[in-house]
Amino acid sequence: MMWRYLIPISIFLVLSAFFVKGLSLNPRYVPSPLLGKPAPEFELPRLKDPNASLGSVDLEGQVTLLNVWATWCVGCRQEHGFLVELSQENNVPIYGLNWKDDRNTALDWLSTLGDPYVGSAFDELGEVAIDWGVYGAPETFLLASDGTVLYKHIAPLTRDIWTSEFLPRIISECGSIPCPTVNN
C-alpha cells in the first residue's frame, strides 16, 4: 500500500513549491496594467515655470523616460545621482513628474543636487499620478515615441537595471523608429 503514503507527500511537495515561489516574490511589486497601452494624457504646470505647461504633447515623437519623484521620497534621493549621470549621456530625454511636493523645496533640490530633467511637471494634488497608476515614488516609465508605455520600473533606478531592463527595450524600439543614438 505504498500509494497511501505517496498522497500526503505529494500534497506536501506541491504546497512547498508554492511557498518557495511565494517567498521569492516581492509583494510590493504590482505589475502595471498600462504596459503596452497608450500612456494616459496629461497636462500640468511646469515645476520651474507655473505659467508654462508640460504634458503628453511634449513627450510625443521621441522615446522618453518619465520619472516620478518627490523631495520627501528617500528612494528618489538615492537614484538622483544616477539620473544626473544618465542625463549627461544624452541618450534619452528624461522628464520628471514631481509628485505631491512643495514647489520651493523641489526647486531647491534640483539646484543643489543637479537637474537631470528636460522638464518636470508639478502634480501638486497627485491627480495625474493616479491616472498613471503611481503608488510609490520613485517610479520610472519608458515611453515609446507614439506614447505607448514600454516598461515601468518601481524602485530607485540603477546602472544595472538601466542596462538589463531599459537599454534592450530602447534598442529594440529604435530599430524601427529613429530615436537618439543609444551608446553604452
Binding site: 496594467p33 493616479i130 491616472d131 503608488y135 510609490g136
Partner: protein, 147 residues
C-alpha cells in the same frame, strides 16, 4: 445602590469606551458626507473594498497614506458626479490592476483563487467518502458497542 467600587468601575468603563470611540474618528481626514444617504453608504462600501497599494493590507478607508486620501478624494468626486460603482471600479482597475480590489473579478487569471476552496472541499469529501466506504463492512470494535 451600587457601592463606590462599582461606581469607579462604571466610570472607568465609560471613560474607556469614549476613548475607543474617539480613536475611531481620528485617523482619517473627513470627506464631506454626501447628502443622499444611499450615495454615502455606497461610497463607504466601495472605499472599504479598495486596497491601499502603499500599505497593502489596509483598505483606502483605513489607511492614512497620502495616496489613499487622494484615491478617496478621487472616488468621492467621481461618485458625486454620478459615476456608478462599476465605473469607479473600472477606473481603478485600469490604473492599478485587479490587485487594488479586495474582491477581484472572476477571470482566466483568478479562477484558481476563487475555485480553490470548492476544489479543496470536493477533495475533502472524496477522502471522507473513501474512508467511510472502507470501514463500512467492518464489525464494530469492543469499545464501540454501547452496552
Amino acid at each position: 445602590m451600587p457601592n463606590s467600587q462599582q461606581l469607579i468601575a462604571i466610570r472607568n468603563g465609560l471613560g474607556l469606551s469614549i476613548l475607543m470611540l474617539a480613536s475611531a474618528a481620528w485617523g482619517i481626514d473627513p470627506m464631506p458626507q454626501f447628502d443622499d444617504p444611499s450615495l454615502e453608504s455606497s461610497y463607504q462600501e466601495l472605499i472599504n473594498e479598495v486596497r491601499c497599494l502603499v500599505c497593502q493590507n489596509q483598505t483606502i478607508a483605513d489607511s492614512n497614506a497620502p495616496l489613499a486620501s487622494d484615491l478617496r478624494r478621487e472616488i468621492h468626486q467621481m461618485m458625486g458626479n454620478g459615476a456608478s460603482r462599476p465605473e469607479v471600479v473600472e477606473f481603478l482597475v485600469a490604473r492599478y490592476g485587479d490587485f487594488v480590489l479586495y474582491r477581484p473579478p472572476f477571470h482566466s487569471k483568478t479562477w484558481l483563487l476563487w475555485g480553490a476552496p470548492i476544489i479543496l472541499l470536493a477533495l475533502g469529501f472524496l477522502v471522507f467518502a473513501r474512508i467511510l466506504k472502507s470501514r463500512m463492512g467492518q464489525p464494530l470494535s469492543e469499545d464501540e458497542i454501547t452496552p
